[in-house]
C-alpha cells in the first residue's frame, strides 16, 4: 500500500503536476478531500494497479498509462467524494489500456471514452496533431486536465462504467491477467454496476437510453462516439454532464459534481422538497427534446455560485420568492415598472393599506347610511349588487389640488352625513388645521409619481365622500366637517 502510494504520488508529480495544480486552482474545495481520500484511493487502486503496472512497465505506452493512471488517480478521489462513483472504474481502464497498441479500434474506443467528457475533447481531437495513434489519447487525457478536468473526469467515470459494460468482457478475455484478477474485476464491476443502479433508482426514474441518444446528435461530439456512448445506463446524470459540457465548457467541474452530490442527499432526504426542475436549468439551456420525468427535481448550481447545500436551498428559496413577487407585481396595479424587492414590497404594503382603509371608510359610510334608509334585502339581492354602478363619473381627471374636487358635485345625493355633521362639535379652527394637514397629505399623495393607481383609490374615496356629503349648497363648515371625517377615518381607525 505504501509502495502504491509512493508510486502514485510519484506519478502525480511526474505527470500530474499540471493536473494537480490546475485542478487545485479550479476546485479549492477539493484540496481538503484529496488528502484524506488519497489513502483510500490508493487502497482502491491497489487492487488494480499492481497488476497493471507490471504490464505497463513493459508496454511502450508507459507514459500514456501514467497520465491515465494519474488521471484515474483523481477519479477515485472523486468517486469517494461523490460516493456514487465506482472504485472499479479505473480498473476497467487499466484493462483496456493494454489493448491500445493492439486494438485497431483504439481510436474509436478512446473517442468513446473521452467523448463523454465533453465537447472540448472533440475540439482538442481536431486541433491537436496526432503523431501516432496513441498520442491523442494521452494528449487528450493529459490536456483534459484543464478547466473542465474533473468535470470531464466525472463524465468519463460515469461513462466508463457503461462503456466498460460493453468493453469489459471482451477486454477481460483478451488480457493476460490471472483469473483471480479477472474475477475480482468482474465482481467489482458488477458491484459497481449495482451501486450505480441503486443510485439511479434512488435519484431518478429510469429513463430510456433513447433520450440520451436523441439529445446528442447535434452537439460537437463525434457522432459515432456519442451514439455508442449513448448505450448503457442512460441515466440523467450523464445527460446533464453531457448537456453541461456542451453548453458551458468552462464551467468548473466541481459544481456539477458537488451538485450531484448535494442533489443525491437532497433526493434521499427530502423528496418532497423539489427545487427547480431540470428542464429549467438556468443558463444551461435545454436540449430541446423531452426530459425524463423525475421523481425528485434537482437543482443545479450555476456557474460561479457556491455549491453548498445551504446556499443551494437558499437560492431555490430566493427564486421562489422572486417568482411570487412577480405574481404580486401583476396583482398590484401600477407596479410594472417597479423593479427590486424592496420597492415592490413598499408598493404592496401601500396598496394593502389603501385597500384596508377603503374598506374601513366604506363601512363607515354604510354605518351612516344604515339608520337613514331601510334595508331592503330582497330588493338588494334582486338587483345585481356586483355590477359596478356608474354613478361615479368614470373619467376623472386627476387634479393635483383638492379644491378642484369640490365643483363637480352631484346634488342627487341625499344629505346623509349632514345629519351627523352637527354632532361633530369641534371648533372650526381645529378642523381647518386638521383639514389642511390632511389636504396637504392627500395632495402629496396625489402628486406621488410612483403609481397612479394608489392615488386613484384615494381619489375614489374622496369622491365618494364628496358625493355623499355635499348638497347643492354646502356650507364651509359642513365641508370642513366632512373632511374631518375623512381625515379621522383614514388616519386613525385602526385596531
Amino acid at each position: 500500500m505504501d509502495m502504491v502510494a509512493a508510486i502514485e504520488s510519484e506519478n502525480w508529480q511526474v505527470n500530474g503536476n499540471n493536473l494537480i495544480n490546475t485542478s487545485v486552482e479550479m476546485i479549492p474545495m477539493n484540496n481538503s478531500t484529496v488528502e484524506p481520500s488519497a489513502c483510500s484511493a490508493a487502497s482502491m487502486v491497489d487492487s488494480f494497479c499492481p497488476q497493471n503496472w507490471d504490464q505497463q512497465a513493459n508496454s511502450e505506452t508507459l507514459s500514456n498509462l501514467d497520465s491515465v493512471r494519474a488521471n484515474l488517480g483523481w477519479n477515485p478521489n472523486q468517486i469517494l467524494r461523490s460516493g456514487v462513483f465506482l472504485p472499479a472504474v479505473p480498473g476497467m481502464i487499466h484493462q483496456s489500456l493494454p489493448h491500445f497498441p493492439a486494438d485497431s479500434a483504439f481510436i474509436e474506443r478512446a473517442a468513446r471514452f473521452s467523448s463523454f467528457s465533453g465537447g472540448n475533447f472533440g475540439e482538442m481531437m481536431n486541433s491537436f496533431t496526432i503523431p501516432d495513434p496513441l498520442n491523442p489519447y494521452s494528449h487528450t487525457f493529459a490536456s483534459m486536465q484543464g478547466p473542465h478536468e474533473i468535470f470531464r473526469d466525472n463524465g468519463y467515470e460515469m461513462n466508463l462504467a457503461e462503456a466498460c459494460k460493453e468493453a469489459s468482457f471482451p477486454v477481460e478475455h483478451g488480457t493476460e491477467m490471472s483469473p483471480l484478477q479477472n474475477e475480482k474485476r468482474r465482481e467489482n464491476f458488477l458491484r459497481s454496476q449495482e451501486e450505480v443502479k441503486n443510485a439511479v433508482d434512488i435519484l431518478l426514474n429510469e429513463s430510456g437510453m433513447d433520450e440520451f441518444n436523441n439529445r446528442d446528435p447535434i452537439e460537437k461530439f463525434e457522432g459515432a462516439a456519442v451514439e455508442s456512448s449513448g448505450q448503457g445506463l442512460g441515466f440523467k446524470k450523464r445527460k446533464r454532464i453531457a448537456q453541461n459540457e456542451k453548453k458551458e465548457a468552462p464551467q468548473p467541474c466541481v459544481e456539477t459534481e458537488k451538485d450531484r452530490v448535494e442533489s443525491k442527499p437532497k433526493g434521499d432526504q427530502d423528496p418532497a422538497s423539489s427545487s427547480k426542475p431540470v428542464g429549467k436549468q438556468g443558463k444551461q439551456g435545454s436540449q430541446g427534446s423531452d426530459i425524463p420525468k423525475e421523481e425528485y427535481i434537482h437543482v443545479r448550481a450555476r456557474r460561479g455560485q457556491a455549491t453548498n447545500s445551504h446556499s443551494l436551498a437558499e437560492r431555490v428559496r430566493r427564486e421562489k420568492i422572486s417568482e411570487r413577487m412577480k405574481y404580486l407585481q401583476d396583482l398590484v396595479p401600477g407596479c410594472s415598472k417597479v423593479t427590486g424587492k424592496a420597492v415592490m414590497l413598499d408598493e404592496i404594503i401601500n396598496y394593502v393599506q389603501s385597500l384596508q382603509r377603503q374598506v374601513e371608510f366604506l363601512s363607515m359610510k354604510l354605518a351612516t347610511v344604515n339608520p337613514q334608509l331601510e334595508f331592503n334585502i330582497e330588493a338588494f339581492l334582486a338587483k345585481d349588487v356586483l355590477q359596478p354602478r356608474t354613478s361615479l363619473p368614470s373619467s376623472l381627471t386627476f387634479p393635483p389640488d383638492m379644491n378642484v374636487l369640490y365643483p363637480p358635485l352631484h346634488p342627487s345625493q341625499p344629505t346623509l352625513i349632514q345629519s351627523g355633521i352637527p354632532g361633530l362639535g369641534n371648533s372650526s379652527d381645529a378642523l381647518r388645521r386638521a383639514i389642511n394637514l390632511r389636504s396637504t397629505a392627500v395632495s402629496e399623495e396625489f402628486k406621488e409619481p410612483s403609481s397612479q393607481q394608489v392615488p386613484n383609490a384615494w381619489e375614489d374615496e374622496l369622491h365618494n365622500v364628496v358625493q355623499m356629503g355635499f348638497n347643492s349648497s354646502p356650507t364651509i363648515d359642513e365641508q370642513d366637517l366632512v373632511l374631518f371625517c375623512i381625515s379621522s377615518n383614514l388616519a386613525s381607525f385602526i385596531d
Binding site: A342, V352, L355, S363, M364, A367, V369, P371, Q467, M468
Partner: protein, 161 residues
C-alpha cells in the same frame, strides 16, 4: 374590472357573490338589532366598528378555512368580540384576557426586513408565516380586499340612489 364582475356573474359561488350575500345579511341583522338612528358620535363609531367587523367577518367566512389569513381574521374578530363582551360584564378585569395574541415562532418575526415585518402586520395572520407563504397569503388577501371594496361600493351606491 369588467372581467371580474362578468366572471362573478357567471359563477354564482364566486367570492364576490358569497361575500355580497353574507355581508348584506349581516348588515340587515345589524340594522334590525340597532336602535333607531342615533346621531351621537359614539354610537356612530360603534356602528361603524360593527359594520367593519361584519364586512371582514363575512369576507373571511366566504373565503373559507383554507386560507390562513381568513382563519386569523375570524379569530381576531371573535377574540375582540369576546373580549368586548367580557369587558362589559366584568369591567377592568378583562384587560388581561384581551391580550390573546398567540405566541408565534419567533424566528419568523426576527429575521425579517422592515418591510417584511410591516407586511406581516398588515396581513392578518402574517406573524407566524415564512416569507414565501406570507407572499402567497398577501396575494390572495389583496384579491379579496379588492372584491370586498367593489361590493361595498356597489351596496352604498344602491342605497344612495
Amino acid at each position: 374590472m369588467t372581467s371580474d364582475h362578468i366572471s362573478s356573474l357567471r359563477n354564482p359561488s364566486s367570492i364576490k357573490t358569497r361575500f355580497a350575500h353574507r355581508f348584506v345579511l349581516a348588515l340587515k341583522k345589524l340594522s334590525m338589532d340597532r336602535a333607531s338612528s342615533s346621531v351621537s358620535m359614539a354610537d356612530r363609531y360603534k356602528r361603524y366598528r360593527k359594520v367593519r367587523a361584519a364586512a371582514y367577518a363575512s369576507m373571511a367566512s366566504s373565503v373559507g378555512p383554507k386560507r390562513a389569513w381568513a382563519r386569523a381574521l375570524l379569530r381576531k374578530i371573535r377574540n375582540r368580540k369576546m373580549g368586548s363582551n367580557l369587558m362589559k360584564r366584568l369591567g377592568s378585569r378583562t384587560g388581561l384576557l384581551k391580550k390573546r395574541t398567540v405566541l408565534k415562532p419567533r424566528n419568523h418575526r426576527e429575521m425579517g426586513s422592515e418591510q417584511e415585518n410591516s407586511l406581516r402586520e398588515l396581513v392578518p395572520g402574517g406573524e407566524g408565516m415564512e416569507f414565501y407563504r406570507l407572499l402567497n397569503e398577501t396575494g390572495h388577501y389583496i384579491k379579496c380586499l379588492r372584491a370586498q371594496v367593489k361590493v361595498m361600493k356597489n351596496i352604498i351606491d344602491l342605497y344612495s340612489n
